[in-house]
């Protein structure tokens, strides 16, 4: 009987760690703590030049405030739990992946190509199968935006395999 009780208690305490309120609070506190650590690496102004407070003091205070408020939110959530969020669908992860594709392609190949690839991935995986529309979204529209920004605003886009052809 005791064992059953202990097992139930263990499961209950374990399930706490998988609650979104715990995970979100843990992530915020972890990131804030890392940033708080970095504030100790900021240069210190010598007392003779220091006016008011040190440059690290204000961010430190903010980070401590964020950690304290996050802990408070977490303890409140034990009484009033957050609503359960639905599992994220595959289309979300594909969209997120398309961001990674965009960053990689625009950094190493071409900015314009990155936009075109992201547009075609998102549009296709969100359900668009008509080739003409895919071309409009991934080539014609970004091209219009590109030319518009380039001519009206005089913007110079970063060099790349396609952009270089335009600027040549």
């Amino acid at each position: 009987m005791n064992d059953v009780h202990n097992e139930k208690g263990t499961n209950k305490s374990l399930s706490l760690f998988f609650k979104s309120s715990f995970i979100v609070s843990a992530v915020i506190i972890l990131i804030s703590s890392i940033l708080l650590y970095f504030t100790f690496t900021f240069d210190i102004v010598p007392p003779i030049l220091n006016r008011g407070i040190q440059p690290a003091t204000f961010p430190k205070a903010l980070l401590i405030l964020i950690i304290a408020l996050t802990l408070l939110t977490y303890f409140i959530s034990l009484k009033n739990p957050w609503k359960n969020e639905k599992k994220l669908p595959n289309s979300f992860y594909i969209t997120l992946l398309s961001f990674v594709v965009f960053i990689t392609v625009s950094k190493f190949l071409d900015f314009f190509l990155g936009i075109a690839l992201l547009s075609i991935i998102v549009s296709y995986f969100w359900g668009e199968r008509r080739v003409a529309y895919l071309i409009i979204v991934s080539i014609i529209f970004p091209l219009i935006v590109f030319v518009f920004f380039e001519t009206i605003l005089g913007l110079r886009f970063p060099p790349g395999i396609i952009t270089n052809l335009y600027y040549r």
Partner: protein, 492 residues
């Protein structure tokens, strides 16, 4: 008051009228499209405003703000999805009324009450902003610090959702503003050796990321969602009977919206919810609310549009934004070299009164365009998300890149998009981040300069009557959610 005549100046400038016309149309389109709205739209259009003179640029942004706030009602009534968060309360009665075959009547009431609310709030702006600016002449660094703190606490207390989460989001916004070289000592903070970060994190990557990119991620989770669309024949002007039922509600909501708008918070969203709740409380038929009550539509719509003028009061008079969209407008002002605050009222009255006049005209324009064009604007929602969002992404990327021609800004935009998505998923509003980011430099700068003046003695803040008043108001604002919760628990 001698400058009141300047309000009519935009009427005699064909250039401003053209800008107003296109700004209103663009605002309506943004308002109609769920997930976009005047904040995202304003942020995306900021780079384009560089081709305009300062007054035209701000007139364009304010026209988008006014029309975009109203535009959300069209989608709320016809497809039960608010085009903007400020139109959420409009869904409650707008859609049920449309389902009864009275979409035209619902839209007519939304249009009329929006215009009345909008115009009333511009009148508040015209009279109240110069008064507040005059008062601000008395403000020194400690007073501005206390005011900024008051603004942030208000954000927590009357913003949507959990007050503690709002405070965390606000603190996060201020933290973002500390990235880069410290403005007093030139010491690097959170730059991690990245040269581009020494200038700090720009406003546009954060706004576009938190609003447009996070919304794109949200839409990616809703691709199988089907909207039930109600057909619209034509927008109908409210009948005499409808006016009799709603005139008190419209006046009350216009007052509520203007007042809420002045306070730094989620302006229209909160105003419409309070306007709706008060309309229900004072109604002779509260049982009709949620089933297609015309008073419900009037209460919500008059309030959310009334918040537009109200939110411009602190933006122009103090340089403190009253909402996320006015934070974009404030950035527009700064980009164009205009520093909002008391001096602006003394030195450039023609500029300010040009904005006031343009807001009045924008309200009349969206009345005409909304009345005759609602059917066409409603068709814009037929553009499928699978085509719309990749296009918005292309504009977002190019727009963000264009301001500083920095690829780091684009990466930051994506990062804030992901952060914004998870914030919204777990109940953190992104609006306090924007306001915190805008107020961050003011909060830190005035605090540090005050401490220099006070020779490091914090207690000196309490010897300044205006600052002390703002601190007391901040405490009241912070305790307000606790009192509200206690009352709710007592009732239960």
């Amino acid at each position: 008051m001698e400058n009141l005549g300047l309000i009519f100046a935009p009427l005699f400038s064909y250039k401003l009228l053209i800008v107003l016309f296109f700004g209103t149309i663009f605002g309506l389109i943004l308002g109609v499209l769920p997930g976009l709205g005047p904040t995202t739209g304003g942020a995306l259009i900021l780079p384009f405003t560089m081709t305009l003179d300062p007054l035209s640029a701000i007139v364009l942004l304010t026209a988008i703000y006014c029309a975009g706030t109203y535009g959300g009602a069209i989608t709320a009534i016809l497809i039960n999805t608010p085009g903007t968060p400020a139109a959420a309360a409009t869904c409650l009665d707008g859609y049920p009324l449309a389902q009864k075959g009275e979409a035209g009547r619902a839209l007519g009431m939304a249009t009329v009450s929006s215009v009345i609310g909008g115009i009333a709030s511009v009148i508040v702006l015209i009279f109240f902003a110069p008064l507040l600016a005059n008062l601000a002449y008395e403000f020194g660094q400690p007073e501005y610090f206390a005011l900024a703190i008051f603004g942030l606490t208000m954000l927590a207390s009357i913003g949507e959702g959990s007050p503690i989460k709002n405070l965390i989001a606000g603190a996060f916004g201020i933290l973002i503003s500390t990235v880069g070289k410290d403005f007093m000592t030139s010491i690097d903070r959170f730059t991690f050796g990245i040269n581009e970060l020494t200038e700090g994190i720009g406003f546009i990557p954060v706004v576009v990321g938190l609003f447009a990119i996070s919304e794109m991620l949200t839409q990616s989770t809703l691709i199988n969602q089907i909207f039930n669309r109600v057909a619209l024949k034509a927008v109908k002007l409210p009948s005499i009977d409808d006016y009799k039922k709603t005139w008190k509600t419209i006046i009350r909501s216009s007052g509520i919206g203007s007042f809420i708008g002045v306070l730094p918070a989620e302006g229209g969203t909160v105003a419409s919810l309070i306007g709706y709740a008060e309309a229900k409380r004072w109604s002779k038929k509260p049982e009709d609310f949620g089933k297609g009550s015309i008073e419900g539509i009037a209460g919500a719509e008059a309030a959310n549009n009334a918040a537009t003028g109200g939110a411009m009061v602190p933006t122009l008079a103090l340089g403190i934004p009253g909402s996320a969209t006015t934070a974009v407008i404030l950035t527009g002002l700064i980009i164009h070299g205009v520093r909002p605050g008391p001096d602006l009222f003394r030195e450039q009255p023609e500029f300010l009164y040009g904005i006031f006049g343009s807001m009045l005209i924008a309200n009349i324009l969206f009345f005409v365009l909304g009345f005759f064009g609602a059917k066409i604007f409603a068709r814009i929602t037929l553009v499928p998300n699978k085509l719309l969002w990749p296009m918005i992404f292309a504009v977002s990327v190019c727009g963000t890149y264009s301001l500083n021609q920095s690829i780091i800004d684009v990466w930051l935009m994506l990062l804030f998009g992901v952060i914004g998505f998870f914030m919204r998923r777990y109940g953190f509003s992104v609006v306090p981040v924007i306001i915190g980011l805008i107020l961050g430099e003011l909060v830190e700068g005035t605090l540090r300069q005050s401490l220099v003046i006070f020779d490091g003695n914090w207690l000196m803040f309490l010897q300044r009557p205006i600052a002390l008043t703002f601190f007391v108001l901040s405490l009241i604002a912070l305790s307000f959610p606790l009192i509200k919760r206690k009352k709710k628990n007592d009732k239960v």
